[in-house]
């Protein structure tokens, strides 16, 4: 399916994002379909910096900065005020993986359970990048970070945030990445269109300095994450109906890992690599089964 990405830009050039920043690109793409009657809530994350110091502001919607663990609930408060005022403003919580998977999880779960009328977007660069590359519960097995050094790389698998969110049975949740912009824009459209409840987007967002890779490979790396089934693209409606939106093509995992220096410990450890391969395949099969259960007649079609 082709989808035209709108040409209009809603983010200023020259932000403080690093070269090849997936978080900055994700924001730029999301704003294209978000609409102008919107407010963003930013907890502590790379975007606390990227937006610029006062009086600079890179977006053409208002931004309320807030404390690390509060994105979902501050967005809830903003939405409550807008509702009381009779306004239909879209309120977005925009958080990194730390502010979503870790410190922000309690408020996120609360908002999801209450089915708050907000759009929560996690741009996931798989570690605490703003503080200088420390592991989070989003960091995948075998990864180097400054707190999981080469001698003791990340041992645990990445937390299944989509599974956690789906368990709250919110109206809409989807994964996406800036490497597939048409898919991403369509999901933003879907999320904005479903009003009256909680919507969640999980955006894999490359971090060239933290992933130890060349900035000009940013798009390629995110694309390979999808092709190798490490980060499948799909959406979940009401926590039950799964739809795979882009079919991977069996790209070997090594082709994804080898572009990134952070996976050096993994590539040198056959046992760990096989463990990861098993986990990726197991998660894919689970997703596939859910997709097939939701779409009995159209298995394998694109």
């Amino acid at each position: 399916m082709r989808w035209v990405v709108p040409e209009a830009e809603h983010m200023a050039e020259g932000t403080l994002g690093c070269q090849g920043c997936g978080g900055a690109l994700s924001m730029r793409l999301v704003l294209k379909e978000l609409g102008q009657d919107a407010v963003a809530v930013l907890p502590a994350c790379c975007w606390s910096i990227i937006d610029g110091p006062w009086p600079v502001h890179a977006l053409d919607i208002p931004v309320l900065h807030t404390a690390f663990e509060t994105a979902a609930v501050v967005a809830t408060g903003v939405k409550a005020a807008k509702t009381v005022q009779g306004k239909d403003t879209t309120v977005v919580a925009w958080a990194g993986d730390g502010g979503t998977f870790d410190i922000g999880l309690q408020a996120l779960s609360g908002a999801a359970e209450r089915n708050e009328d907000i759009l929560f977007i996690c741009y996931d660069n798989e570690a605490y990048m703003n503080t200088g590359i420390q592991r989070s519960s989003s960091t995948p097995t075998g990864t180097w970070t400054t707190t999981t050094p080469d001698q003791r790389p990340e041992a645990r698998p990445k937390k299944d945030i989509m599974g956690i969110i789906a368990a709250h049975r919110i109206p809409y949740a989807a994964t996406a990445t800036a490497a597939y912009p048409e898919d991403l824009e369509r999901k933003v459209q879907n999320a904005v269109a479903i009003k009256g409840g909680m919507r969640f987007l999980h955006l894999l967002s490359v971090c060239p300095p933290g992933w130890k890779m060349e900035a000009d490979q940013a798009i390629e790396v995110m694309r390979r994450a999808v092709r190798s089934k490490v980060f499948p693209l799909y959406e979940v409606r009401n926590g039950r109906d799964y739809t795979i939106t882009h079919w991977p093509d069996d790209l070997p995992l090594e082709d994804y890992f080898s572009l990134q220096g952070r996976f050096k410990p993994l590539l040198g450890n056959d046992e760990m690599l096989e463990l990861v391969r098993g986990n990726v395949e197991e998660r894919w099969q689970t997703l596939l089964a859910r997709h097939e259960a939701s779409h009995p007649a159209s298995v394998g079609s694109n």
Binding site: T66, V73, G110
Partner: protein
């Protein structure tokens, strides 16, 4: 027409939030505050109060939701107690820095461990330096009225404010309450006009990075506005009398004119201290009472004027700062520092963890005050097995002995 009802302090607070036309209320249950949010839930569910009620998953989130709502231009209210106020701490700072006039009621209770739900000022006084205005209620009527008074000032200085009321002694005790006429409250408290409201037509960023070139000035403005709040509390308290029938002041004196010995107190225990002062006057002792209502901003100049020239001052603290003294005593001492006619300040620590502070307790304090020559930082009243006095002189640090295991 105003109504006269028999209500608890908790229900009075809920009526205060309703009369103030709070627009977004967000709260989490905690004893002994819970009745406030229960009643507010009913009032919003029935439509009697046109507000959005958010049942969040923690007190930290309760304050965060208020921050979001207030930043978007709504009048926001919450209520909490003890551990809940402590959990809010980070977001209490946020409300100040973001200049959001949120009002909260804190039903003051002791901090754990051990678990204690009983009256104690430690929770609220632990938030002394966050930059919130703080009022201490003594009656059910004040538990309601101070919310309205607080919003009136908070929305002029764009600083948040909290109203403290004592666990159970006020929160669960029914007293006659005048529920003001809504139109009169509306006249006193106009609709909230926010500094900013996250209007998409004005895409600005709030609360982001500030360089060293600017942060100091932002904090200076907070200090400046807290100073302004001192006079505004007086003005708004006066106006409360004109419009709603009862004048409020940051400090309240009782039999102070010729008093040689002044007892300083805050909160509900003041009622018993006041009775003790009456008794003492009958005995011919020139006693008086100074009740501290506004703790932040602290009425330093007025306290210097009122307490200057007295023979002795006893400050009653239902709290203590370990390593120093009771916190009210500390503040009063600091206010009087360097004043040539400053009286000696005797700090008394009473009623920790809800231990009763009776009329008799105030008498014990006065007996000790009359007898004692030198002031002490913290004189403990009612510790089992010990007379009123400072720390045990023979106290030595010993390793804890292992408990005998009973099988």
């Amino acid at each position: 027409m105003p109504e006269r009802l028999l209500l608890t302090g908790n229900h009075a607070a809920a009526y205060g939030a309703m009369l103030a036309r709070s627009e977004v209320i967000s709260a989490y249950p905690i004893t002994p505050q819970t009745m406030i949010v229960e009643l507010l839930s009913e009032l919003t569910a029935s439509g009697r109060l046109d507000a959005k009620f958010i049942t969040v998953e923690s007190e930290h989130s309760a304050m965060a939701a208020c921050v979001g709502a207030s930043a978007a231009g709504a009048r926001a209210y919450t209520a909490t107690s003890g551990q809940g106020l402590a959990l809010m701490h980070e977001m209490l700072h946020w409300a100040v820095g973001a200049r959001l006039p949120i009002v909260l009621t804190n039903v003051s209770r002791a901090m754990a461990p051990g678990w204690s739900i009983w009256s104690d000022q430690s929770d609220i006084l632990s938030q002394r330096d966050v930059g919130w205005m703080m009022l201490f209620a003594e009656s059910v009527q004040e538990a309601q009225d101070f919310i309205i008074w607080m919003y009136r000032v908070a929305e002029q200085v764009f600083l948040p404010g909290m109203v403290g009321m004592d666990a159970f002694i006020l929160s669960h005790t029914a007293e006659p309450l005048i529920v003001h006429d809504q139109e009169a409250v509306d006249e006193y408290l106009p609709p909230f006009e926010p500094l900013y409201d996250l209007d998409p037509a004005q895409p600005r960023a709030y609360g982001g990075l500030v360089n060293r070139d600017h942060y100091f000035e932002l904090r200076y403005k907070i200090y400046e506005n807290m100073e302004r709040a001192g006079q505004l509390l007086i003005d708004a308290g006066e106006e409360f009398g004109d419009v709603l029938g009862h004048k409020y002041t940051p400090l309240e004196g009782f039999m102070l004119d010729d008093a040689e010995y002044v007892l300083v107190s805050a909160g509900a225990m003041t009622s018993n201290v006041r009775q003790a002062v009456r008794d003492l006057r009958e005995k011919g002792i020139k006693a008086g009472l100074l009740r501290v209502i506004a703790f932040r901003p602290f009425p330093v100049k007025q306290i210097r004027r009122i307490l200057g020239g007295r023979k002795k001052v006893a400050v009653l603290d239902r709290n203590m700062s370990a390593g120093h003294s009771g916190i009210f005593a500390e503040e009063v001492r600091s206010a009087l520092h360097g004043q040539s006619d400053a009286p000696p300040i005797y700090g008394y620590v009473v009623g920790i963890g809800g231990r009763d502070v009776r009329v008799e307790t105030a008498h014990e304090v006065m007996d000790d005050l009359l007898e004692r020559d030198e002031p002490e930082m913290a004189l403990f009243v009612g510790v089992k097995g010990l007379p009123i006095g400072p720390l045990r002189a023979d106290y030595e640090i010993r390793p804890l002995e292992p408990l005998e295991v009973v099988r």
